[in-house]
């Protein structure tokens, strides 16, 4: 489709949105976007308790809002683990979030969204100190408000902030970024059109130790290039 028409890197070495290869999109981080005192006080009676932590992260035209509930009593008691907290992730995309999957309508049970949810859960399970909260549940609710590539890294960044806002113990921040490869040139923080055309790697790591909690790739890539992209990804994020 668009792959033949889109020029990934022009002669001047700029990408389609006039970024240089290692340049990130403009980002904004908002913390505590939903707090107990900002919402109606009697909401607890209707079961709509305000979240314990929340954040909204915008990277370029991608915008993700995350709310964290917990540690709280598990909604289904069968899910409770006697020695640690369980992490539950739910991902939703608002219907007007353009581009998310080429305009295809996504519902809650969507395979693709479940996969993103599982990736977020696997990223954070080893980082959250779950043994401190036995028999409880930490629910992470991800809402994609606008999709223009990099939903997963943006969601991970937003989830980190929401967890911190909720006062949940974590080993470190988790930062995430997407890395693409155009010919021999790695590109950082891909937008939707680039994401469709290029092999892409998503890395999430702990900036202070450099440990990687997630490395996800769905396309094929030469093994020599992989290492370069991976180290570029971890370096770039810790410098943030």
């Amino acid at each position: 489709m668009s792959s033949s028409r889109l020029e990934i890197l022009n002669d001047g070495g700029l990408r389609h949105d006039a970024r240089r290869p290692y340049e990130l999109r403009s980002t904004s981080f908002l913390l505590s976007t939903h707090t107990a005192s900002s919402s109606s006080s009697s909401s607890s009676s209707s079961g709509l308790t305000p979240p314990d932590g929340s954040s909204t992260v915008t990277q370029g035209l991608t915008s993700v809002q995350v709310t964290v509930f917990g540690p709280r009593e598990p909604k289904q008691r069968s899910q409770a683990a006697h020695d640690r907290a369980t992490v539950v992730v739910e991902v939703g995309v608002v219907p007007w979030a353009a581009g998310g999957g080429g305009g295809a309508k996504r519902t809650r049970g969507d395979k693709r969204l479940q996969e993103i949810g599982a990736a977020i859960r696997q990223t954070f399970e080893p980082v959250i100190m779950t043994h401190l909260y036995p028999r409880s549940e930490i629910a992470i609710n991800v809402q994609v408000l606008a999709a223009d590539g990099g939903i997963l890294p943006t969601s991970i960044n937003a989830t980190t902030l929401a967890l911190i806002d909720a006062g949940i113990s974590m080993l470190d921040y988790v930062t995430s970024i997407s890395i693409g490869l155009h010919l021999l040139q790695p590109l950082l923080d891909l937008s939707q059109p680039e994401e469709l055309d290029l092999p892409m790697l998503v890395v999430a790591s702990l900036p202070s130790s450099g440990k990687i909690t997630l490395a996800q790739m769905e396309t094929r890539l030469h093994v020599d290039r992989f290492e370069e992209m991976l180290s570029l990804g971890t370096d770039e994020k810790s410098g943030r």
Binding site: S32, T35, A36, S37, S38, S41, S42, S43, S44, S45, T49, P50, D52, G53, G70, P71, R72, E73, H82, M129, Y133, P134, R135, S136, I164, D165, A166, G167, I168, S169, M170, L171, D172, Y173, L206, P207, S208, S209
Partner: protein, 334 residues
């Protein structure tokens, strides 16, 4: 340097005197410590851990050789590292980080307000804003009428008549069970089912442990005054006032009515007073002002003097109240 600064001056007979400190530690370890220690002395004048009061997850606070880790921290290699965003608290050698925002952390003796979630065998499960539902055993409540006796099977069958799902109650934390679940009790005439008012939710950090968590604002505030219960779990109950005796089980205390579900008739003026107090508390909580009895009293007397009529508090009045009562200028804040 290390051993000299940490030993109390009285311990002259300790073996630090006859054995050089370097003999008790691996040289590599000692080097690392010297570097740490020196860093602190240079940067902070040797006054203990980092002078920065706010840390975020993954931030190294100090060396684990000298300090013990408390809540909100973990040890990685030789460092005490923060695991939450909050303020550093140090008690002697114990370093802990208190999160800026978190769920309620129960302690025995705390006064909490909760909502019944479930009626189970011999117990109620209560949502008290903790990490798990609290339990209220049938054996730790008072029977209507104040009869003192062992609870029998017929009492268990009547549990839902005492407290049903969705009812609010005020209770005290009796004990903490093995995995941190709080067990509540209401064995005092001050505790029990709540009615004639409404619930506010504020961040639990804003409520300090006070001598009394029951406050009464007397009569010019509504015909019978307004009662406030500040639950340490961040739940605040604001209700139409009752007289001192009736609250504490004296003259006119309705022992049979403690589990009543019926609200009394509250006059419009009484309702207005309750909602005015609730709005003031909400406003203070929104700006992160810790709630105390005196502060609420001052906020009320300010409102009584300065807000004409009995409509809701306008934004401008709210800002003036914060400025004049708390000294908080939300317009010119950095």
């Amino acid at each position: 340097m290390f051993s000299v600064t940490t030993l109390p001056p009285s311990s002259t007979l300790s073996f630090a005197d006859d054995i050089p400190s370097s003999h008790r530690k691996h040289p590599a370890e000692l080097d690392a410590m010297d570097v740490d220690d020196g860093g602190f002395e240079d940067e902070y004048g040797g006054a203990g851990p980092s002078k920065r009061t706010v840390v975020t997850p993954g931030e190294v606070i100090t060396s684990s050789k000298e300090y013990m880790r408390g809540h909100g921290t973990y040890v990685e290699e030789v460092n005490v590292v923060s695991s939450v965003t909050g303020t550093i608290e140090r008690v002697n050698k114990l370093i802990s980080v208190k999160p800026l925002r978190s769920r309620y952390n129960p302690e025995v003796g705390d006064l909490v307000i909760g909502r019944i979630n479930e009626v189970g065998p011999q117990r109620w499960r209560v949502d008290a804003n903790g990490r798990q539902d609290a339990v209220l055993m049938l054996s730790s409540v008072n029977l209507p009428g104040g009869v003192q006796r062992r609870k029998i099977e017929s009492d268990a069958l009547k549990m839902r008549e005492f407290l049903a799902e969705g009812n609010l109650l005020v209770a005290e934390v009796q004990s903490l069970l093995g995995d941190g679940v709080m067990s509540l009790h209401t064995r005092s005439l001050k505790y029990g089912k709540l009615r004639n008012g409404f619930l506010l939710t504020v961040p639990p950090q804003l409520i300090r442990r006070l001598k009394s968590h029951f406050h009464h604002i007397p009569a010019p505030c509504g015909p019978t005054g307004v009662d406030i219960i500040l639950g340490l779990n961040g739940f605040v109950w604001v209700s139409s006032g009752t007289s001192q005796e009736r609250r504490e089980g004296g003259e006119g205390f309705d022992a049979e009515g403690v589990y009543s579900d019926k609200n009394d008739d509250i006059t419009p003026e009484g309702r207005q007073a309750v909602s005015l107090i609730a709005n003031l508390i909400k406003l203070l909580a929104r700006e992160g002002v810790p709630l105390t009895e005196t502060l609420i009293n001052e906020a009320y007397s300010w409102a009584a003097k300065n807000v004409p009529g009995d409509g809701p508090l306008s934004d401008r009045d709210g800002e003036r109240m914060l400025l004049e009562v708390v000294g908080l200028d939300i317009h010119h804040r950095a």
